[in-house]
């Protein structure tokens, strides 16, 4: 359909053109005409009116101005008009006009063939809460076929009806509220059930009051459930990060009997590797910016693994058999690493961005969003743990590692190159922590001291899980991570930590070897 401005005809065109009238009263009259016509084709023009995008041409017709493309469009068909009758005058939209136009817009949108538009309109309309909104919503609900939109519409109807003067309408609304239990109703329900100074509630009808109370408790219990779900998600991702740290610790501790206090700094180095890769991609490969994270994974692993091997070769090797000194020496190394990073990157946190494909999340229930980044971290740690298990159980290196862990002297006698195994395992453990750093960079801040806050928890995981036991580390990390986050909302972060610590000390009383005790001889 080729349209010239002269092709305007019919009541719809007239009313739309009337929106560009010069007087406020005339515009309001024409909004009323559009409401009576009830034709969804007027939606673009009405929304343009509300957003100050409607223009009046010199020919007296209305036009829509597109802010992005700077095109002028036909108000009904949306066709771009090459040579509009300039100069175009902006239609001055007052708040009075908006007040009239917005419900009409919602009314038209409720009749739109597009389900998403209907949904948005229902939500918009329920906010206004006017008397005609109730009628409009009821009418739309009776016509609506789409299940998703029906749900939203019935919620919207309920929200409007809660304030209705009819007792039956309020009861029907409360029934819906109780079923959906959405927190959007919380404040309204609290208002209804609140007791005034004379002891009587705002809601005077006892039956409605009882229904409101039960709806309120439904909303609250759903809120608790959502909070619980949220804690569970956070607990799982904390457990994943702990597991990254603890996997490496458990192997090196089990194999070498040394505590690596610089292990947390491996996490930090991994995160800074990610930051460096991100910066390099930004500067040299801006086209592939979205994929920097994939490149960061091997880089972080190799960088931290390399640092680990160097540490083992230069310092830790000379301290075998003196675990307490190793603890102190590695603490010194962690100070050196932190200060070095601080001098290179500054003491401030640096920002590592989520690539687009990890941004956002999926809504699993109203008010509970599962972020993609957290899902990815959990998935990643499962992959890494499986990889470590594979290396330990199905490769030659793993066989040697297990042999050295069980009996170093015997393994050496049988020709296992124990020194090489030590260095490789130390590198592997550090590299895994580095991968944890990549994961952590997607969840939180990246700063020189980030590793310190994880190391103590990670040690607790190792202590709890039993030294050198993968399954123990996994179970303990899961348990500690989730328990930590579940206690936190009730008792606060600090008390949560203390409770966990006390639990561990008591637990060690019962099972000094940890959850999954190592079979065989344990050296005294």
């Amino acid at each position: 359909m080729v349209l010239s401005p002269a092709a305007h005809a019919g009541p719809l065109d007239d009313a739309v053109d009337g929106l560009a009238a010069s007087s406020e009263d005339a515009i309001i009259v024409n909004v009323g005409r559009l409401a009576a016509l009830d034709d969804p084709r007027a939606i673009p023009a009405l929304s343009a009116l509300c957003d100050d995008r409607l223009r009046a041409g010199t020919d007296g017709h209305a036009y829509i101005f597109d802010n992005k493309t700077r095109d002028v469009k036909h108000p009904i068909t949306g066709a771009v008009i090459g040579s509009p009758p300039r100069p175009l005058k902006e239609v001055e939209t007052s708040n009075d006009i908006r007040r009239v136009a917005l419900p009409v817009l919602a009314q038209l949108q409720l009749a739109s063939p597009n389900a998403a538009v209907r949904l948005a309109a229902a939500e918009e309309l329920s906010k206004t809460g006017s008397a005609e909104a109730a009628t409009l919503l009821h009418r739309a609900l009776s016509r609506e076929q789409n299940v998703g939109v029906r749900d939203v519409l019935s919620e919207a109807v309920a929200r409007v009806d809660l304030a209705s003067s009819s007792r039956d309408a309020r009861l029907a609304a409360l029934a819906i509220v109780e079923k959906t239990a959405s927190d959007a109703f919380l404040s309204e329900l609290q208002r209804m059930t609140a007791k005034g100074p004379n002891g009587t509630a705002v809601e005077t009808d006892p039956q409605v009051y009882a229904a409101a109370m039960s709806a309120l408790s439904a909303v609250k219990s759903r809120q608790r459930l959502i909070a619980f779900g949220g804690s569970l998600i956070h607990g799982l991702s904390l457990a994943s990060v702990l597991l990254f740290v603890a996997l490496g610790l458990a192997i090196t501790f089990g194999l070498l009997g040394v505590i690596n206090m610089a292990h947390g700094e491996m996490l930090m180095l991994g995160a800074y590797s990610t930051y460096t890769v991100q910066t390099l991609f930004h500067n040299y490969l801006p086209g592939a910016q979205q994929f920097y994270l994939l490149a960061a994974i091997p880089v972080a692993f190799l960088a931290t693994g390399g640092v680990g091997v160097v540490m083992e070769r230069s310092v830790i090797r000379h301290l075998y058999g003196r675990p307490l000194e190793t603890l102190l020496a590695t603490w010194g190394i962690s100070l050196l690493l932190i200060q070095t990073i601080r001098l290179i990157f500054g003491a401030q946190n640096v920002s590592v961005a989520n690539p687009d494909w990890l941004a956002g999340g999926t809504q699993i229930a109203q008010g509970l969003v599962l972020p993609w980044s957290r899902i990815a971290v959990v998935g990643f740690v499962i992959l890494v743990a499986a990889g470590v298990w594979f290396i330990l159980q199905r490769t030659r290196l793993g066989l040697q590692v297990r042999a050295v862990t069980q009996n170093r002297g015997m393994a050496a006698t049988l020709g296992v190159p124990t020194r090489r195994v030590d260095a490789l395992v130390f590198g592997l453990g550090s590299g895994i922590a580095g991968l944890g750093g990549v994961a952590l960079s997607q969840l939180g801040n990246v700063g020189p001291e980030m590793g310190q806050s994880y190391i103590i928890d990670a040690f607790m995981v190792v202590v709890l899980g039993g030294v050198g036991r993968l399954a123990g580390a996994v179970a303990a990390a899961l348990g500690l991570g989730v328990i930590n986050k579940l206690i936190e909302p009730a008792a606060g972060a600090v008390l949560g930590k203390i409770v966990v610590l006390v639990f561990i000390i008591l637990f060690i009383q019962r099972r000094p070897q940890g959850l999954f005790a190592q079979r065989g001889r344990v050296e005294a």
Binding site: V258, E325, L328, W331, G332, L335, L336, Q339, V494, P512
Partner: protein, 365 residues
Amino acid sequence: MLTRLREMHSPLAWGLIAGAALLIAALPAIGLPEYLVPQFGKFLCFGIAALAMDLVWGYAGILSLGHGLFFALGGYSMGMYLMRSIAGEGVYRSALPDFMVFLDWKTLPWYWSGFQSFGFAAVMSLVVPGVLAFVFGWFAFRSRIRGVYFSIVTQALTYAATLLFFQNATGFGGNNGLTDFKRILGAPLHDPTTRRTLYLVSAIALLGTYFVCRFVVTSRLGRVLTAVRDAELKTRFCGYESTHYKVFVWTLSAMLCGLAGALYVPQVGIINPSEMQPSNSIEMAIWVAVGGRGTLLGAVLGAWLVVGGKSWLTAAIPSAWLYALGALFVIVTLFLPRGLVGLGAKLRPAVDMVIARLRRPAKAT
């Protein structure tokens, strides 16, 4: 009594110690600048803490990463007395400490009662760390938690306590801690005489701590502890219940550390949770490692060297301090397993040889 003293040291050593003690005590009188008196008093307190650390680590093989906590607990006990002694003179003119007024608290928490008395606070500065150490140690040693496990668990304990004290709701002033003290036992804290007295008290306390530690390590109990350190299982099989010995020395050490903290706080004028951060406890370990584990004098010297170096370096080249500290940890553990005292002992034959060679020409003539 006299034989016991002779067991502890040779007469020559006693003489040297007495001389050193006199010199230290006389320092303010013979020209130590006034502003340095609290600074040196602080060093004396760190010396006490180092002795406490060496007692458990050097002689019983228990590496504690929680002594900073005991130190801070002693400090907080004294700080609570100092806070209460200025009741009514704070910014808000309230009987409560200022931070409680700020938090809108109406009454003192129960655990603040009694601290208006200096004697009570002084006793508590020993009892609180002692009780905590006893309970913790009893549970830990009973279940044979030792070596790095024990170190890690003490560190976790310290970490949890730090978090707890950082909270305003705990009732110890949150991250600002306790400060703005005015006087101790009626004497103004900024008065030079008070400062010198505190310095002198610290010096006496250091000397006393040294005696106690020396007494313990030269006693039969000390020899059992050394045996536990070197071969715990064998000692147990010989019929010594190692747990009891460990709990005893662990608790004693914690109380000595609390004493150090109690003397430290009036001299520096503040106590806050950063004093109990895990890193502080680990620094105490490096004092002892630098000086030489298992030598009491070495521990004190190590503490003074490291803390003195820190004071100097953080002022001169601030960014270099962490490097220096980190390198110190690595170098000492790698190359100086017995610390400076051990190095001295190792160099002794060489020094003797040099002296002998210098003497030979003299003999020839």
